[in-house]
């Protein structure tokens, strides 16, 4: 469904992605793991149109989206839930969620139905519905950011470090929700994580990135048993 072929991206003279290729199938959870500076966030930002590749090809449902505008990529069904959550503190929880529908014009009844779905998935947000985004805890903000991304009715959800800055118990809740969402709706997920153990646990396949290249790939269960991965990312 999403296909990335030989993708190269540079910041000025520095090449950060040195020709990576991977794909995501419908209904699949795929993880991109690797350390700081490997190029994981750059990969997601390039897919969502915030950065432009120097060469290579990104295809979404058979169409090349290398040079599409950010909001057109969202409306084509690729939602990006950015690193550090980036919710809108000046808007209420409800307004944050509705802003997720900005890429298309929905009827009021459709928006209400989608809101109900998101609130059903994240009951905490229901309790905070009319509060300002600034008043939420880190875990609630992450749920709001995911909920906002879901409001654009994506068929692929790209999550950038959803565990960042969250307490272990909250991380578990967030990952449970991601899994539940995938099982319930068949939504594809492209997950970028430094918490490799969690990422390998919920994904079907994974790609390991190191300084702009993909060094290993395969079924997540097999990677979790691979001695190289165990040593480098899972703490031995």
């Amino acid at each position: 469904m999403l296909k990335v072929e030989n993708l190269r991206v540079s910041y000025g003279h520095i090449e950060v992605l040195k020709g990576i290729s991977f794909d995501v199938d419908p209904g699949e959870i795929v993880a991109l793991i690797g350390g700081n500076g490997a190029g994981k966030t750059t990969t997601l930002s390039t897919i969502s149109g915030l950065l432009r590749p120097t060469s290579g090809k990104i295809t979404w449902k058979g169409e090349t989206i290398n040079s599409a505008a950010v909001e057109n990529i969202v409306s084509a069904g690729v939602a990006h839930c950015p690193e550090g959550r980036r919710i809108f503190p000046g808007l209420t929880v409800r307004e944050n969620l509705i802003t997720g529908t900005a890429s298309r014009s929905y009827r009021k009844s459709e928006i209400e139905a989608d809101l109900a779905l998101v609130l059903d998935l994240f009951p905490r947000l229901k309790e905070r519905f009319t509060q300002g985004g600034w008043s939420l805890s880190g875990g609630e903000q992450q749920m709001l950011a995911i909920g906002r991304a879901l409001m654009s009715r994506p068929s692929l959800l790209m999550l950038d470090e959803p565990s960042l800055g969250l307490a272990p118990i909250v991380i578990e809740q967030v990952f449970d929700k991601i899994l539940e969402l995938n099982k319930r709706t068949g939504l594809s997920v492209l997950l970028v994580e430094q918490n490799s153990a969690m990422a390998l646990d919920i994904s079907a396949r994974a790609f390991v990135m190191e300084t702009g290249t993909i060094t290993l790939s395969g079924p997540s269960a097999a990677l979790a048993d691979d001695p190289r991965i165990r040593e480098a990312y899972l703490g031995g």
């Binding site: 969502s48 909001e71 969202v74 809108f88 802003t99 900005a102 298309r104 654009s152």
Partner: protein
């Protein structure tokens, strides 16, 4: 929650009664004149709030849009055009000007955008000063025909007061509607995080441009009413100093708060007059007052009530 809404309604009703009866109590024409200017400033600051308070784009060009509206109106009515045409002319001129300024510059950020808008304000001021045959140069334009719809129009300060109250009320209602529309959410999303807004599908360039244009329309219409109610205009009223003053009203009143725009405009229009007895010391006190508000209430005067309420709730 219901009782608090009721309280707000009662407070608003009392406020409305007070505002409507002011002219009966204060028969002094000078005070009414000041209040009229305060209301015009409030409309301009409400406009500034779209781009700066909600969308986060610094705009020092607001005084120039105010001036463009005023000069368009003055020149048109003095040339014999009917008054009814002037709001439309003023809006047409400021929309054209805001497109010329906004289209190429709104991709700029922070200081760069601020510098560009300062430059724009200066260009407009210089044109007004130097195009003397049309604009009257530094001495301005006098005896501008007043507001008149099919021969009817407000006479005297008090009648203008009521006209301006009505226009200000409409300006507030429109601002409230926009704040709670998709455009309003897009504005605040753009200010809070431009990247996240785009990732949510918000066209941030379009949002900034619309915020800018709507703000210019507010300023243009206020300028139109300024020219035809004060009936004398000069470049001083729309200079760079005025642009800074409008920004100060927004900050002191409360960025992003509709009530704050009105409080800020009223406070900074009336305060200098109230402090006039201090002679040349008034500017010192005025400056200190602005600093005190910014340091003690960074959310502006409008935030003080809710801060106190939070403190009381916390102390309990």
């Amino acid at each position: 929650m219901k009782t608090s809404r009721l309280k707000t309604r009662i407070a608003l009703a009392l406020f409305a009664i007070a505002v409507l009866t002011i002219p009966l109590a204060a028969r002094d024409g000078y005070i009414i004149q000041l209040l009229n200017i305060a209301m015009l400033n409030a409309i301009v600051v409400l406009g500034l709030n779209f781009a700066t308070g909600w969308t986060g784009q610094i705009n020092f060009g607001q005084a120039a849009f105010y001036g463009l509206g005023a000069y368009t109106t003055a020149i048109a009515t003095k040339a014999g055009l009917p008054w009814i045409s002037t709001p439309f002319l003023a809006v047409a001129v400021v929309v054209a000007a805001s497109l010329v300024l906004g289209l190429p510059t709104l991709r700029l950020r922070t200081y760069y955008l601020a510098m560009t808008t300062i430059g724009f304000g200066e260009i407009v001021r210089l044109i007004i000063v130097h195009w003397e045959p049309v604009t009257g140069g530094t001495s301005g334009l006098r005896a501008i025909p007043g507001i008149s719809l099919f021969g009817f129009g407000p006479q005297g300060q008090i009648q203008h007061y009521y006209v301006l109250i009505a226009v200000l009320a409409v300006a507030v209602l429109v601002a409230v509607r926009i704040r709670h529309s998709a455009l309003g959410r897009a504005m605040i999303a753009t200010k809070d995080s431009e990247i996240a807004a785009e990732q949510s599908g918000v066209d941030t360039t379009r949002t900034k441009l619309l915020a800018f244009i709507i703000g210019a329309i507010y300023a243009g219409l206020a300028g139109c009413l300024y020219a035809s109610s004060i009936r004398f205009i000069s470049p001083d009223s729309f200079s760079g100093i005025q642009a800074v003053l409008l920004m100060t009203m927004l900050i002191v009143g409360g960025m992003g708060s509709i009530a704050g725009c009105i409080i800020g405009a009223a406070a900074l229009t009336l305060l200098p007059e109230a402090l006039r007895f201090l002679g040349q010391w008034y500017l010192v006190l005025y400056g200190l007052g602005v600093i005190v508000v910014i340091v003690l209430a960074p959310g502006g005067l409008a935030s003080i009530a809710s801060t106190i309420r939070l403190r009381l709730a916390g102390a309990r």
